[in-house]
C-alpha cells in the first residue's frame, strides 16, 4: 500500500485496532515519541531553566512553560493508553535531550530552535489519519507556538547586547547540531509506515529541511547571526 492508498480517517482506538496491528504500531510509535519527548524536554530543559532565569518574570514564564510541556506529556500518554500501549515514559529519549543546559541564553535559543522542531512535527499531524491525535495536536499547538515565540522574543532581546552575541552564536551552533537527528534517519522503515498509513505525510528529510529553513530565516534574518550548514540527509 502507498501513502496515497490510505486516504481515510480513523476515528478512535477501536477503529485503529480494527485496521490491524500495523496501523496501531505506526500511530503508536508517533504518539509514544511525543510522550517521551515532552517529558524529557520538561525535565532536561524547562525545569532547570526556572533556576537559571535572570529575573522573576522570566522565572514565572519558565514555570508556566515547564507545566505546559509536562501537561503535553500526560495528554500524549493518555492517547497511548487508549491505544493499549501502556507506560511509554521509560523508553530512551532522543539524544537532543542529553544536551546540558547551563545558561538562560541557551534556554531561550533552545525554545526558539528545538521547540520549533516539535512545532514542525506537530503541524504535520494536523492532517494525520488518526483523529484523536489530530484533535490533540489542534489543542496543543497554540501552546507550542507560544514557547517558540517566547524563545524568539528573548533571543532577540539578548542579541541587542553585543557582549552576548558569541554566547548566542555558540548556542545556535550547538543546538542546531544536536537537533538534526530529531527528525529521524533519511532511510527509515518507520517513516515509510507512517506515510503508508497516512499518520504522516512527509519524509524525515522533508521535515528536517522545513525546520532548517525556518530556523535559518530567524537566525540570519532576525538575529543577524550565522546559521550552520544543515544537510537535509541524516543517517546517523
Amino acid at each position: 500500500m502507498t501513502a496515497a492508498a490510505f486516504p481515510g480517517e480513523v476515528r478512535d482506538a477501536a477503529a485503529a485496532h480494527a485496521l490491524g496491528p500495523d496501523y496501531v504500531r505506526a500511530v503508536g510509535k508517533v504518539v509514544v515519541s511525543h510522550v517521551r519527548n515532552e517529558l524529557a524536554g520538561a525535565a532536561a530543559f524547562d525545569e532547570p531553566a526556572i533556576a537559571l532565569a535572570p529575573g522573576p518574570k522570566e522565572k514565572w514564564l519558565a514555570c508556566r512553560i515547564a507545566m505546559e510541556e509536562y501537561g503535553h506529556h500526560l495528554k500524549f500518554q493518555r492517547l497511548a493508553s487508549d491505544l493499549g500501549l501502556g507506560e511509554a515514559s521509560h523508553d530512551r529519549a532522543l539524544s537532543v535531550f542529553d544536551y546540558q543546559l547551563t545558561s538562560w541564553a541557551e534556554f531561550v535559543v533552545l525554545k526558539a530552535l528545538v521547540d520549533l522542531a516539535e512545532v514542525v512535527l506537530m503541524e504535520e499531524l494536523l492532517a494525520t489519519s488518526y483523529l484523536p491525535l489530530r484533535h490533540l495536536v489542534v489543542r496543543l499547538l497554540p501552546e507550542e507556538h507560544f514557547h517558540v515565540s517566547f524563545g524568539k522574543a528573548h533571543t532577540r532581546e539578548l542579541v541587542t547586547d553585543p557582549a552576548a552575541l558569541p554566547l548566542v552564536q555558540r548556542a545556535v551552533d550547538d543546538l542546531v547540531h544536536v537537533t538534526v537527528p530529531f527528525f529521524g534517519r533519511s532511510v527509515s522503515v518507520n517513516n515509510d509506515a507512517f506515510r503508508r498509513w497516512g499518520v504522516k505525510q512527509r519524509t524525515n528529510d522533508e521535515a528536517r529541511a522545513e525546520w532548517a529553513g525556518r530556523c535559518r530565516q530567524f537566525v540570519e534574518g532576525d538575529l543577524g547571526l550565522r546559521f550552520p550548514d544543515v544537510d537535509r540527509h541524516w543517517n546517523g
Binding site: 522573576p56 514565572w60 501537561g71
Partner: protein, 187 residues
Amino acid sequence: MAWPLTVVDQDGRRVTFAEALGPGGARVQELLDALVRGAAEAGVDVDSLALMTPAGTVDLPLARVSLGEGVEAAGQVDGTWLAEVDRRRNGCRQALAAAARDEQMEAALHVAMLLATERLDPHDDADVDAHVASGARLWLVAGAVVSALSGADPDPFLAWGRLVAAGWWPVGPSDGRMVLSACGPVA
C-alpha cells in the same frame, strides 16, 4: 480531571487523597478543594492574607493592581524577599526528602499541577502577561502543597495559597508596596 480523588491503597482499600498522602495530606486536600472552588470561595480576607507572605509578614501599603501592572511590578520585586521565599520553599522539599516522603511529595505535586495547570490557564495562548501570572501562581501552589505536606507550623505558604486559590496573584513587595493583582475568575 475529577475532584475530589479517591485512591486505592496497597491493601485495595478506597481512601481519600488526604489519607493516601499521610501527615499533612488533609491540608493539601483543603488547598486543592479551595483551588477547585476557585473565585467562588467566600470569606477570604484578602487585605490581611496579602501581607502574610511566604517570607514573613510585611508592613507595607497594599496596592491592588491590574494584571499588566502586576507583571510590571513583578520585574521590580524585592530580590532578597524572593530569595527568602525560595529558601523556605526548598526547605520544605528538603524536609520531606529527609523524611523519605519523596513519593508522597511527587504524588501531591502531580495532582496539584494537574488541577492547577488547567484552572490557572492563560485564556489567550499569545498573552505573555497572562503566562507570567499563571507561572507565578503555579509556582506558589507548588510551594503551598509542599509546605502543607511537610507539616511546617506556622505554614509560610498558607495565606498566599488561599489567595491564589481564590483567584488572586500576590506578586510581592515591589517599589515600597505589597502588590496584589486580580487575575479574574479562576476557570
